[in-house]
Symmetry: C2
Subunit: 232 residues, 2 copies
């Protein structure tokens, strides 16, 4: 496969690159159960997608604050609610990348793939994460839906990004841990890679991914061994 055959690899950011499990600590530090972190993140997406149904959008952080306030009405933090909300949101800025990310991303870049990121979070948060992970230099761009007409998984979000990349979506591959993201990307014309770090089954209601691997290191190995997996 020549360099020109290689598709653009588009990485989701939250949970695909960042290890959101570390958010547990931010919740525990304000005196509430760490398990709330998972509810909080799922609820942010729930709210964002509910708005997307109407073609509306809000910044990820605005939804993050609102959802935290709702959770803290039931699970009272050990400090003023607004202070706890700030503490939790700050936690997002300290998240690490998953252990497989630096090696996997570097191997893909070394193999000549063009890499980019497309996040429902803010551009600044994604940039900070990639910097902390030591991999920012491997991404030719970092895009946030905050500059798009709408959030993923709306087709317009991927189409908007494709125009900025200057690449037909048929030559772009969404790499994500979330089936809803891959389903939306596939509907928009992209090929898809599912990163399944925990061995979960893929839901039947989402379009099946073209490639399924357990982490980014294995994705790099897979594409080296079988570049045809993602060829046009």
């Amino acid at each position: 496969m020549t360099a020109d055959d290689r598709p653009l690899l588009v990485f989701d950011v939250n949970e695909t690159i960042s290890d959101m499990r570390e958010m547990r600590r931010a919740f525990e530090e304000v005196g509430v159960p760490g398990e709330l972190a998972a509810t909080w993140f799922a609820s942010i997406l729930r709210e964002g997608f509910a708005l997307a149904v109407h073609g509306e959008a809000q910044p990820f952080a605005a939804l993050g604050r609102a959802v935290a306030r709702t959770l803290f009405a039931v699970h009272r933090p050990d400090r003023e609610v607004e202070d706890a909300v700030v503490h939790v949101l700050d936690g997002v800025q300290r998240l690490p990348v998953h252990p497989d990310v630096p090696g996997g991303v570097t191997a893909l870049a070394d193999a000549g793939y063009r890499l980019t990121a497309l996040t429902n979070g803010s551009e600044a948060t994604a940039e900070g994460l990639l910097e902390r992970g030591g991999i920012r230099q491997h991404f030719e761009s970092v895009l946030s839906v905050e500059d798009a007409p709408c959030w993923k998984p709306a087709s317009e979000s991927y189409a908007w990004a494709g125009r900025i990349w200057g690449v037909p979506l048929q030559r772009a591959v969404m790499v994500a841990v979330h089936p809803w993201d891959l389903h939306g990307a596939s509907r928009a014309g992209m090929r898809t890679v599912w990163i399944d770090r925990y061995g979960a089954p893929y839901p039947q209601y989402a379009r099946a991914p073209d490639v399924r691997v357990s982490d980014l290191t294995r994705l790099a190995a897979r594409l080296e061994g079988d570049g045809a997996a993602l060829r046009d």
Copy 2:
């Protein structure tokens, strides 16, 4: 206010009528943290709304099973995953109504309001819940989006229900605990009542409710004292 002035009161079901906190037990009974119940429910809605962005839909139970399988890949239950999935889904069929529901619903019916239910869950589940709560007789109908073109909060779901009720949406009032439901109902032309049992702040990105009360008993008292609150 005469009977003809009275709007149709449309009740959401999950969490508005059912006490979803009891789902904690179903998760604990399969050996995983009870807090997963909240993550599970938020994730079902997240998945349902992601599909709604594309105009697609799946039954609530199908999403409930898929989300449970994903959660159980990380939090291993004390039995076969499929057995644990069944146990959790069965828990939905045993949920009680909130303590304020029987008295509040009965008072509203006694005051002459027409009551109906519109759920993103299944019709059978909603029927069973209302029966267990001893209030089924107060509802003239129980509708599920499984018979509609799409889930709430898509405008078409409320419009579809309005055609079945035979009532212009301007004369129907959505009663729910979820701001995303009230936002969608308002966009579809309905008036809205927010039930806020835990004293949470209402999110700024959702259309403000016309009435805000802490439970259904207080809604009945509020409408008796100030029927104009929901008059056309």
